[in-house]
Amino acid sequence: MSHAVEVDEKQAWSGGQSPFRISYGKMMMWFFLVSDALTFSGLLCAYGFIRHKYESVWPVAENVFTHFPFITAHIPLAYVGLMTFILIMSSVTMVLAVEAGHRNDRKGVTIWLFLTIIGGFMFVGSQAWEWYHFIEGTATGAMRQVWDIDQGKYVTKLIHGANMTYNEYGVPQFANFFFFITGFHGFHVFSGVMINCVIFINVLIGTYEKRGHYEMIEKVGLYWHFVDLVWVFVFTFFYLL
């Protein structure tokens, strides 16, 4: 694309222009995303630390996430693959909305942004479904050693599903990190959908038409792509590795 205009390095910082050749709002969105990405990096690194520490006792995600809606078959990774597809799809509709915004094409922005919102809702719903099945567990269950507070020692019990203190599938830390990181990401998706809805209403009532540019779509687009970016990493480290 042709708008990669490099600035004269000596002139850039002497005032009268943005050295980054970017508007204030977009730059602040980038800086927010940098800090947010550092937070997620910290969480994923903590996850990696604990996982390395308990490598021999860490559950394999393939044996945990095996459900698929309306089918009773045992198909690992299929559902999370679908979730990833939904999120990548909503990412591409978002970038198409941004592109339409660059042409001041109100109709295009409306359609693509609407599809993005639908994708976002589908993803949040999928995550809720995934959580439900992880908490519910299998009918068979597994024998686990859990801390009995009355007896003051570990006792063996039949456990179904996972929560913050015990986990049918393996060490409880797996469930702790799963709930925290996918929950934090899911909350980002949810906020993103809400922000997209606000922007969508603004598009419908013609706020950006009056303003003369659709830069706001770019800003929420940055946030939305960031959410997709985080999912790419969560997907790899929780489900694939």
Partner: protein
């Protein structure tokens, strides 16, 4: 003291606008990146699904394979979808350098320390408990629970039951041969 105000900033908000012909070009590029991301995800899923049967599970190759594909995907999203490649050099470095500095170091230190904590002599009583749990869990959790494992059994009994099951499996194997 005199202050200088700049009311004549360039209109950065409209700088990225383009016409329909240019838009068509951009859209085809975006769809190409989308197909690339989708293809990578499908490859990852197939390899992840087959990892156990191909004997790759937990191996170094698989880790590097998945992490490099993830970085390719991340690059596609950040550079093309988020248009970072179209921004100025200053902004690109401002956004990307913090990771090169902080996160690479964090990953390095965590891998070193995480592995160190995993040494047997460094294990706590909590680790021992997880080991025992793993013995129970080692066979797939979907399998029926062994009759020996009733509620309230002790660690010793679990280990003994597991040993017995292993011996049974071993003797069954020799019979087949």
């Amino acid at each position: 003291m005199s202050m200088e105000f700049h009311d004549d900033y360039p209109q950065y908000e409209t700088m990225y606008q383009h016409d329909e012909a240019h838009g068509k070009q951009i859209r085809s590029k975006l769809w190409k990146v989308f197909w690339l991301l989708l293809a990578i995800t499908l490859v990852e899923l197939v390899v992840g699904y087959q990892a156990t049967s191909w004997g790759l599970l937990g191996g170094t190759f698989l880790k590097f394979f998945f992490i490099s594909l993830t970085l390719v995907k991340a690059g596609g999203i950040v550079l093309v979808f988020m248009h970072l490649i179209d921004e100025t050099k200053f902004l690109r470095y401002t956004i990307l350098l913090p990771y090169a500095v902080f996160i690479l170091y964090l990953i390095f230190i965590i891998l070193v320390e995480g592995t160190y904590c995993g040494y047997p002599h460094n294990r706590t009583s909590l680790d021992k408990n997880y080991k025992i749990q793993q013995i129970v869990l080692r066979n797939h959790h979907m399998q029926p629970i062994p009759a020996e494992l009733k509620e309230g059994v002790t660690e010793k009994e679990i280990i003994a039951a597991e040993k017995q099951a292993e011996e049974n499996a071993a003797s069954a194997g020799t019979h087949e041969e």
